[in-house]
């Protein structure tokens, strides 16, 4: 075991500059794509980025196996992951905050209530309701409005409730997996981690089914006024994070099954992924309450 006095600093590394090129191509390509250009640059960047991440994580795992990582260095990774998750919390806070502001201030004002109720003069006939089925535009221009509200919304007590159960269960299973890992029982660890991945994938499956229902039958889309906006942006970013979390856990599973990685006392790669998983779980509870139940 390395000591405090030998904090491993790699002499040089080519990884970051390649990651830079990958990230730049991804961002530039995405901007180019949504501005009407081709999507090639974006996909080239995304592939480059994925490849660099692969090699980067491989390098870190290799260094750890060579015993280069002291306890102190491992703590740096722990701090890093913890504060990264906090930054994600703040990202979601911006969107939850937007939902709160719209419902508490904007819509009552547009509907003629309170301090700024005079804004109703611009949208005569608009009434503040939630879910917002009739947008201000629609209240004024009827069916010829540019922004139409949804015709229906997702019932929280069907698919969303099922998804809540799935995701909460997956938080439990990943915790059980962790307990078995700490006891050194690899078979049980693999089993419970595999169950978690399946639960995550099932969640995503039902989320897609819910989106199809919304788009095909309910007229609930990104473009259906502020209800559709907040609904899809909050659940969509959460879904993207669940996708990422499922991939992370799947990779951890493959590392354990194929390469026999992780020791009972040394498995921060897995632990970081499980923290991330608990985080997306907590966000979902917030979504279920504030978007689905209180939104219905």
């Amino acid at each position: 075991m390395a000591t405090e006095s030998s904090y491993y600093v790699p002499e040089q590394s080519r990884l970051p500059i390649f990651a830079t090129i990958g990230l730049f191509l991804t961002a530039f390509g995405a901007a180019n794509w949504v501005n009407g250009g081709s999507s090639y640059i974006f996909f080239a960047g995304a592939i480059a980025m994925a490849a660099v991440l692969w090699f980067w994580f491989a390098a870190v795992i290799r260094e750890n196996m060579q015993g280069l990582n002291s306890d102190q260095l491992k703590r740096s990774y722990v701090w890093g992951m913890g504060w990264f998750i906090f930054s994600e919390v703040m990202f979601f806070a911006a969107f939850f905050g937007a939902l709160y502001y719209i419902r508490t201030f904007t819509l009552p004002w547009l509907g003629g209530e309170g301090d700024r109720g005079s804004s109703n003069m611009l949208w005569e006939g608009f009434q503040n309701t939630w879910p917002l089925m009739v947008t201000p535009d629609q209240a004024v221009s009827g069916e010829s409005a540019k922004v139409l509200g949804p015709k229906g919304i997702i019932d929280p007590w069907h698919l969303p409730l099922l998804n809540t159960v799935l995701l909460l269960a997956s938080s439990v299973t990943v915790h059980i997996a962790h307990v078995f890992l700490k006891k050194g029982k690899r078979q049980a660890f693999n089993l419970w981690l595999g169950a978690t991945v399946i639960l995550g994938a099932a969640f995503l499956f039902f989320q897609v089914a819910e989106y199809l229902e919304a788009y095909q039958h309910l007229g609930l889309t990104l473009e259906s006024g502020i209800y559709g906006t907040t609904f899809f942006m909050l659940t969509g970013f959460h879904g993207a994070h669940v996708t990422l979390g499922t991939i992370m856990l799947l990779i951890m599973l493959l590392r354990s099954v194929i390469a026999h990685h992780f020791k009972p006392d040394d498995h921060f790669g897995f632990e970081a992924a499980s923290w991330y998983w608990h985080f997306v779980d907590v966000v979902w509870v917030g979504l279920f309450i504030f978007v689905y139940v209180l939104g219905a």
Binding site: P16, T20, N35, W83, S87, M90, I226, T229
Partner: protein
Amino acid sequence: MAHGPKPGFTRWLYTTNHKDIGSMYLWFSFAMFLLGGCMALVIRAELFQPGLQIVQPEFFNQMTTMHGLIMVFGAVMPAFVGLANWMVPMMIGAPDMALPRMNNWSFWILPFAFAMLASTLFMEGGAPNFGWTFYAPLSTEYAPPSVTFFIFSIHIMGASSIMGAINIVATILNMRAPGMTLMKMPLFVWTWLITAYLLIAVMPVLAGVVTMMLMDIHFGTSFFSAAGGGDPVLFQHVFWFFGHPEVYIMILPAFGIVSAIIPTFARKPLFGYSSMVYATASIAFLSFIVWAHHMFTVGMPIAGELFFMYATMLIAVPTGVKVFNWVTTMFRGSMTFETPMLFSIAFVILFTLGGFSGLMLAIAPADFQYHDTYFVVAHFHYVLVPGAIFSITAGVYYWLPKWTGNMYNETMGKVHFWMAFVGLNVTFFPMHFVGLAGMPRRIPDYALQFADFNQIASVGAFLFGAAQIVFLFNVIRTVRGGRKATDEVWENPQGLEWTVPSPAPYHTFSTPPVVR
């Protein structure tokens, strides 16, 4: 670990060394400072006389926007990160930053992000022209197509800041030498720790708000459109929830720098160390609950106006503690006035002046008069130029001998200081007057009665710009040679960075020192 730097340019591409990366941050930020400065000079040249003289209004708007964005995200923030990279590991007795590869990545994505941002100047429809605060719907419905590239460049800058901040937190909390307890840390380390928390908390919110813009522009969402039930004022709330802590991100490390310099040249320990720490933390906390003072005139409930007014005024208390401590540190000190000290004293005086005009702006009913006038421009330039820029300059002069092993030219440093000091006051002081008299900001043309003060301001701006050339020349000369610096450089300065040789070896504290 005993190796020196690798030869060739790949040293800079592949480096994991905090000193290399710190130097790259500092040079990059200086380049951005000159670029943003040139844009400021375009603005001042246009405003030298009333009427349209040099540029078209559309281009003028692009200049004010890009000047703000480049100075905030390209000059001030990377300069502080560069100083943190150089100094934090040396100050806490660590061998390097906690996550050295990510450190390299945090830096190198910045030049790419700014290349992308600058390239918008050459795009169809021109660069972003909606002000650095990019209020919707100017930045959404009415924005040029290049806004998409602006959005993604902001995303990259945000990623860089978040990674840099995480690295600094991990370094400070995990890599202190034995005996370096939290309350023994130099104030620069303390202020950066708190700044890093601010960055981690608010850069994601900035990412959120530009994402909302992107969705409104390209995917038909209604965040900022009342037609769909959204609200353009929502943009301002989310933006300023990021924006106000951002202001302190640009000033807290400055507090740390002058708190290092003033004790050295007053030859007294810093007065009220622990109160400095608590004041910094208080300012950081308050920064989260004052954001709407940027939008008093937008139409808020009276309770909101009152809350944000009083909360804003509260900030004067911890800030006053700091100013009191700096002044008291100097009181009856055995002072000398080398260049870093001159910049630091100017910081204390002029930053306080900027703070006072901030207090005036905090008064909601008075703000209705000042809002969007040149008084606001005067205020934030007084806190950012003699605040952030002067402290960075002071820090560079203070630590340059440690970095290079050579003393800078003191005469040239003093020339730089007096040119910059006079230049900035001549530029920004008259703006208070034209602002109070009603001259609006962000216009290429103005009423005749503002001509005299604007002419004076433009002359000052070019003087301030010329001062930076002296600075550049002085730094390059020092890097290339000059009188050798001692290991201590100054007379009995405090801190671990002065216990290593000058220039600091490529690797310092591979074995941690013991702090008593």
